[in-house]
Symmetry: C2
Subunit: 496 residues, 2 copies
């Protein structure tokens, strides 16, 4: 891929002077049209070899366009807050909102390449990274982001010359350290691995643009024109909504209409005395396990979904009652804020991810996409269809980062729901829990059951399994929830 970027591409100063003013004005125009349009963000990655003019180009872009609407982020050593979350967390934090241009210096490519060059990662690790990156970028693209990945290249000879040149000039010599020469010694290995990486991650949605970095005028105009054309093209015509083949497989309803929820025995019951005994035991174990010396290395993510009035809140409180309030955060999921709406739908969940040693309890969650949003038509079919694999990717990242994930679907019968709705309407401090919305949702009962079954089938994984809770009887439901959480943590910490 790099051969074409070793041809000694050049642009004369005269030519540059002729082109630059118009390019600049056009870019500024496009930037404002993007801002007014407000429907998608531009994510520009600036990567490549040392000395190839990455910094200079970014500076120029900020000069050409209105820097107030450009979000430039550089990724150095992760902060401790970043280190305690999955590696992608810092990039999610830096995503530009719709209508803005984000310039990312260094990116999700940096660590995988360097780790492989220095053999801290195996060839298989690299392949896994590539797969993850492709998933992530496809998600971004599907969410509407315009992704442009620039790779600044220099031939070995030119890089050597450039480093020497920077080193000998007293004004720039500080920029060159031993580390740069250490990297240069591995030029060939870097070349090979980067080339593999770029080839495997150059997709229709997120193409790599390799830019020869030796001539300042050439590289500036190349990047500027590429950016301009891509923005113009996207502003003129939004991309067609595609459903990836892997996702488009029709969901065949079982001909006998039996799905997993219908198989549940909703009559499971527990007597009050038995419940009290059990609950106390579980809560005690839960309190104790958080004191385990391995616990601060992990975190616990609990997800509660279920029919309205199925008892999510009550179950959650039986967990939190056992915990030091400093150890958990409760995230009730309601309508997104405007900052959240300007980002991919998973963004609002990423931002709340806990540091290590904490519980995060989501009362409703990212599964809203394949439940309420699917049923109410708040997003297109293509959107919720792709959500299954996006969610699996997300949860896999959490699990790999040490999260213990417990997902609960609380199921009640339609009759039981009716009884509870009526009760809520009558009870003083429960009346806030029942709204006309709830009655409307009830009419879509079957739709919710089908959506929930699809969800469970497609997102129950070894690292983040669903637990179905028979919730007609609150005692049974709560004991099962708390017991499941306790056992999941104990298992994960090797206590059983």
């Amino acid at each position: 891929m790099f051969e074409a970027a070793e041809l000694g591409h050049k642009l004369s100063k005269g030519e540059y002077k002729r082109i630059e003013p118009k390019l600049r004005a056009d870019l500024l125009d496009a930037q404002y049209d993007l801002f007014k349009n407000g429907k998608f963000p531009v994510v520009a990655l600036i990567s490549g070899v040392r000395g190839a003019g990455k910094g200079e180009t970014v500076r120029l872009l900020n000069e050409w366009m209105d820097p107030r609407h450009i979000h430039t982020h550089a990724f150095d050593t992760p902060s401790d807050e970043e280190r305690e979350r999955p590696p992608m967390w810092r990039f999610w934090r830096a995503l530009p909102p719709k209508g803005r241009i984000g310039i990312l210096f260094g990116s999700w490519y940096t660590a995988p390449i360097i780790d492989r060059v220095f053999k801290r990662a195996s060839a298989k690790d690299l392949m896994l990274s590539i797969e993850e990156i492709n998933h992530f970028e496809r998600m971004l693209a599907d969410e509407g982001a315009l992704i442009l990945k620039f790779w600044f290249h220099l031939s070995k000879k030119r890089q050597k010359k450039r480093l020497k040149q920077l080193e000998s000039d007293p004004e720039t010599s500080w920029r060159i350290s031993d580390r740069d020469w250490d990297f240069f010694k591995l030029y060939d290995r870097f070349y090979r691995i980067s080339e593999d990486m770029l080839r495997e991650t150059s997709t229709r949605d997120a193409p790599w643009i390799v830019v020869e970095g030796s001539d300042p005028e050439y590289r500036a105009v190349t990047v500027g024109k590429t950016l301009l054309e891509a923005m113009r093209k996207r502003l003129a015509a939004p991309p067609e909504r595609r459903v990836a083949k892997s996702q488009a497989a029709p969901m065949v309803r079982p001909v006998d209409r039996v799905h997993v929820l219908r198989r549940m025995n909703l009559n499971l019951k527990m007597e009050r005395d038995e419940y009290k005994k059990r609950l106390e035991k579980f809560q005690r174990r839960l309190a104790l396990i958080t004191l385990n010396k391995k616990f601060p290395e992990r975190n616990v993510v609990c997800v509660f979904e279920g029919m309205d009035a199925a008892g999510k809140g009550g179950a959650i409180r039986r967990i939190t009652a056992a915990l030091d309030p400093r150890l958990y955060h409760n995230i009730p999921v309601a309508a997104p804020t405007d900052e959240e709406r300007a980002q991919p739908y998973l963004w609002r969940f990423w931002r709340h991810l806990p540091r290590k040693g904490r519980f995060t309890i989501y009362d409703r969650s990212w599964y809203g996409r394949v439940l309420v949003e699917r049923i109410e038509g708040f997003c297109s079919e293509a959107d919720w269809m792709r959500a299954y694999s996006e969610i699996n990717d997300f949860e896999e990242q959490l699990a790999r980062n040490g999260a213990i994930i417990c997902k609960f679907w609380l199921q009640i019968s339609k009759t039981e729901q009716f009884r509870r709705f009526k009760l809520r309407e009558k009870t003083r401090f429960k009346r806030f829990k029942i709204t006309p919305e709830d009655w409307r949702n009830r009419e879509k009962w079957n739709g919710y059951e089908v959506a929930a079954s699809d969800m469970i089938e497609r997102t129950s994984t070894s690292f983040a399994p669903w637990t179905l809770i028979e919730a007609n009887d609150k005692y049974h439901a709560r004991a099962k929830v708390v017991g499941t959480v306790v056992r999941a943590i104990e298992n994960a910490l090797g206590k059983r």
Copy 2:
């Protein structure tokens, strides 16, 4: 203050059983009314001595009310992201939005008390902390927050007994460390200093409630009732808007109508050649100073305010052109997002504060409160009147944390503005810069001049001075801006 909390207050279990169900239902009701009301947050501080039941009480509050709308935050060792910002940054991050209850375990009181007990801080330092805290809490209260500060107290004898008790029980012994006994040895000193602190910070807006911590039932009901009554009272009647005496001093217009802006010589000019030479020199010095080995310990905050079309954007770009794009963030200030509107007005600026070694450039700023918001009546007179001292407090915190603050007011004549508006309407890539809004603002020219003069007079401080920029001539204006920034940094780093 603590004597009344050493009387052995008690509540019998029977009494508790009688009171609890109603208290609980009432609290839940009040919480939902707060949520629906959505006009103010509740900030509850939980402080006090070890073993006095702070954790148990917070757990109970979370059990009584809906934990989904309670934000519980504990403050341990600051993270590195927190350490690189002013000490209050971590508390701003944790403020609950309007309509929610925030429970803060540990707070802005913890460090000042401990530092004084261990003599890391002098008596004078403590007095300064107290003053800062009172300013901060008054600001919170003026922004509408309902503040309740609970101090859990135990007499020396009871604390000793409690610690021994916790230590001897195998289930709780892990909770007691040598550190607790070290603290206990200093009980008398803690007592004295805390008492001083509480007395000096118990204000009408943010009273301390001292709770005797020995009896679980007594302390739970005390906290619950206090919280309930305070919420009910506030929900029934919002506090009257007060203007503090110090702020209410009428602003007397000079009888000759001469204010600081009128004294500016807007005809100051610079020739193009001179400008080019100067700018290059300044930009070179700017680029160099960021390489100074002391620079990573500081940060630079630039604020740009001025009449429409005065050239703020152009001046900003002459600064950023000299900087590595990784070193700065540009914050264009437009309408607040809904998350920002649910917080005190300074919150949106706190959240963008840079880490060390960075520039943050605010294109318009917190001064909007005393400019556009004052003139358009977006906030009450009491609100913008108090903003002057709140802003001074804010900037003082920045400065004490190492920020080099440069604030610019760009002034043009009314004729020059007219010329620029017309030019913008004609120029292709400037037309986005001119809107009907701009023409409307122009009609309020005199109001803006008066507001700007008041602002400059009241917020130009030694640690954050205003620089007035005569901006009819762009060359003069830009050279002066960049020169001022360069010199401010060079001075701060001791390079001149």
